[in-house]
């Protein structure tokens, strides 16, 4: 079902890009990439019951790995994408040995610290461009065809389709049931032989793969990255997308990404009308207010309300 849903969205995007102005095609790409990250995050937060405030770091690692390989080593972004996913996975794997031992709120802090540390590395490491990052990152190509805006939107949503299909299989399998079991009653599951730490580790690494893939595509599609693209605020936005859509929902990840990107656009256009002196930070402030309102009004996300309406 998830697979078919993903293909329908992909088909929709593949049609839409021929009619939308290129600015909106770019937004579609952005929504797709954010949705991909959020699908991964939802497995970790919604199913495994953990918290991550550091997903932007994995997006950044994917982006920087792919960009560095392409710019410095003339490696095709297709390989860069795989490398980006692998490096993000490796970092998540290593971090998990420290972080997953921690209780939930400490895990949130540990992932937050990861985001900050990785950002410092991006800023200070001259080999990967320091604070100015990478410019003119080579794009994806298929044969003689170099990707344009439309192709990136289609690529992003093809990855969403693949990602939601895989995640959908996972959450409805023994693996997904074990995740739900540990999030509801960790000790109870452990006394049945469920290796909760291993489950959480594998899910965390999987979420990093989703983020790393999104980052690699992001780097090539924007052809420019710098450390500020992967700040703590981006991590917060992923949590926001996750919560708005409903953390234990894969469709919710897509809805959440779309809602947050759309809200960002609205705020960008409306806030200056109301508060002429407001700067970019105000968008974040309003997104924060909306998050709090969401948590109060729809604590289990938009999709939970849809499910109730159907039931």
């Amino acid at each position: 079902m998830y697979g078919r849903f993903g293909l329908v969205l992909l088909a929709l995007v593949a049609v839409l890009v021929w009619f939308l102005p290129s600015y909106y095609t770019g937004l579609l790409t952005q929504i797709g990439l954010y949705a991909l990250v959020t699908i991964g995050l939802n497995m970790f937060m919604g199913y495994a019951g953990q918290v991550s405030l550091g997903q932007a770091a994995f997006v950044g690692i994917g982006a920087y790995t792919s960009a560095a390989l392409a710019v410095k080593g003339h490696v095709t972004p297709w390989l860069g994408l795989i490398a980006g996913a692998l490096v993000a996975a490796l970092v998540a794997y290593v971090l998990s040995f420290i972080a997953l031992r921690l209780r939930e709120n400490l895990l949130a802090l540990a992932t937050l610290a990861l985001g900050i540390v990785i950002n410092v590395v991006f800023n200070e490491w001259e080999f990967i461009g320091g604070s100015s990052g990478f410019k003119d990152i080579p794009g994806f190509a298929l044969g003689a065809f170099t990707f344009d805006q439309r192709a990136y939107a289609i690529l992003a949503w093809a990855l969403v389709a693949l990602g939601i299909w895989f995640a959908g299989n996972v959450v409805r399998s023994s693996f997904g049931r074990a995740l739900i079991a540990i999030s509801a009653g960790e000790l109870g599951a452990q006394t049945l032989g469920v290796e909760s730490e291993r489950l959480k580790r594998q899910t965390f690494v999987l979420s990093a793969v989703y983020a790393g893939v999104a980052g690699a595509v992001y780097a090539s599609s924007f052809s420019y990255i710098d450390p500020s693209s992967f700040s703590f605020l981006l991590s917060v936005n992923f949590v926001l997308m996750s919560v708005i859509g409903g953390i234990r929902s894969l469709w919710g990840a897509v809805i959440g990404a779309a809602v947050v990107v759309a809200l960002g656009q609205v705020l960008q256009n409306v806030v200056p009308l109301v508060l002429p002196s407001a700067r970019g930070d105000f968008q974040q402030f309003f997104l924060g207010v909306i998050l709090i309102a969401m948590l109060i009004l729809l604590p289990r996300g938009i999709t939970s309300r849809l499910r109730e309406a159907r039931a």
Partner: protein
Amino acid sequence: MTAVASPLTTTLEVRGVSVRFGGVIAVADVTFTAHTAEVLGVMGPNGAGKTTLFNVISGVQRPTSGEVSLGGSRLTGRGVEDVAALGVTRTFQTPVMFWGLTVRESVEVALAAREFGGTYPPAPWRELLRCGFGTPGRRRENAVLRECADAILTGAGIAAMAGRATESLAFGEERLLEMARALAVSPNVLLLDEPLSALNPDEIEAVLTSIRSARASGVAVLLVEHAVGELLAVADRVVVLDHGRKIAEGSPQAVAADPLVIDAYIGDELE
């Protein structure tokens, strides 16, 4: 039932176990053994240290001193999952439910661990990929798990609950599910912490039936229960704790007549 008398085989050994919480000595130098195919009652007034003892055996709580072993291999120092993989599982005084799963799915969680040799997920990564790609092999295994789960629910007398969300269960139904889940891992040792409390007569009968059939299949059942009548009726032997110490051990009749035991219970009621 076959009438072949099997010799008593020691399976679980608890040796000199003490647990201290700050100034409180919850369990004090407790030693006993449990045999295969027996129900060992663990009695004692509130606060006697029964739950703490179960926590030590199941790996939830490290003892301050002493050790627990199963069939000669040491359990103390292992994690809860590893103790479970060696065949020791338990239920909780307050049932732990897997909200978000149905009754059948909850049992499938236990079965998956058994299927893979005691712990789930098995060897790193491969299982995640098989689940994610929905390989035909994994799908066949899912179908088998489902059938096994239904068989277990039928055995526990709760087949009618199979499709229900665990959130919708009444307290007694939660107890029955938790018991079925524990039996699904085919344990060697099953620790039941007050499995009868707050159950109606039908549910009590269902739990007692499950306990007897577990015993018949060779499980060592350790039973903590406040309903002394039921406990003495189903137990083969009884260990009595009071203020963390073992004050008596023996047949249900002997223990019920033991003045020390009577004192402990009456003293508890007067307090």
